[in-house]
């Protein structure tokens, strides 16, 4: 999986992230999620890391950008499906301090 896949469920936009979230792959995630938000009605954005084995700080930049945008719209953001590697990245970057994880 090279590109993100998007799924709308009621007022939630689930972003199934690609295998590697870096500068190369993350630019379009910003753009594409923006299109879904333009349509209106999205209150939650959920980042699904189930298929993601690599992420660097470019990915963190996208998460933070989308977080700010959703807050602006009065919505919220959550993460899901992170393996230990991604957990470590989200931890170091402080993402867990502002985003809930739906992973048990």
């Amino acid at each position: 999986m090279k590109h993100a896949i998007y799924e709308v469920v009621d007022d939630r936009l689930v972003v199934h992230l690609p295998g590697e979230v870096d500068d190369h792959s993350s630019g379009r995630i910003q753009e594409e999620t923006e299109k879904y938000l333009q349509g209106g009605g999205i209150r939650y954005m959920i980042f699904d890391f189930t298929n993601t084995s690599f992420m660097d700080s470019s990915g963190i930049g996208v998460l933070l950008g989308r977080y700010k945008r959703m807050k602006q719209l009065g919505g919220n953001v959550a993460v899901f499906g992170e393996d230990n590697r991604i957990k470590r990245i989200l931890n170091i970057s402080g993402i867990y301090q502002i985003m809930e994880s739906l992973t048990k």
Partner: protein
């Protein structure tokens, strides 16, 4: 044909400043360090650090334009040294650039965590830069700690 362990082994790589080379560079360094019998976590750490340094060349040093990026990796015993070099715009205030959350491109959705990630995942990170000439990032990591 016999490799003597502990001897220095080096590889040099020259790539173009293209975002698709971020993935290539980190895989190449990961493949090079395979001879050290690293743990999966050690490989992941190095991949992240290399990705950060190469991404900075693509985005900051060359601003998305053309340019070359030079990567040198060296194994000496259990010590891995990776150097990422560009001949781009350079950094006038390295200390400030390395501060957590500082980014020169906030509008581009950068997190300012690149150098922090390099420091978190490697044992040592040194940045040498001359404005107008380019930047060298030298990172060291001792494996098997």
């Amino acid at each position: 044909m016999e490799e003597t362990r502990g001897k220095k082994e080096t590889m040099r790589l020259e790539i173009e400043s293209l975002s698709c080379n971020e993935a290539f560079a980190r895989v190449a360094v990961a493949a090079f360090m395979a001879r050290m019998d690293p743990t999966v976590e050690e490989v992941d750490d190095v991949k992240t650090a290399v990705s950060e340094a190469v991404t900075n060349c693509v985005i900051h040093a060359y601003g998305g334009g053309e340019g070359k990026i030079w990567i040198q990796a060296e194994v000496e015993g259990s010590l891995l040294t990776v150097q990422v070099r560009d001949s781009g715009v350079g950094i006038s205030d390295v200390k400030k650039a390395m501060e957590p959350l500082y980014t020169g491109k906030p509008e581009a959705g950068r997190s300012g965590m690149g150098f922090s990630f390099m420091e978190a995942f490697m044992d040592e990170v040194q940045v040498d830069s001359v404005p107008g000439e380019g930047t060298v990032v030298t990172m060291k990591k001792k494996l098997g700690q």
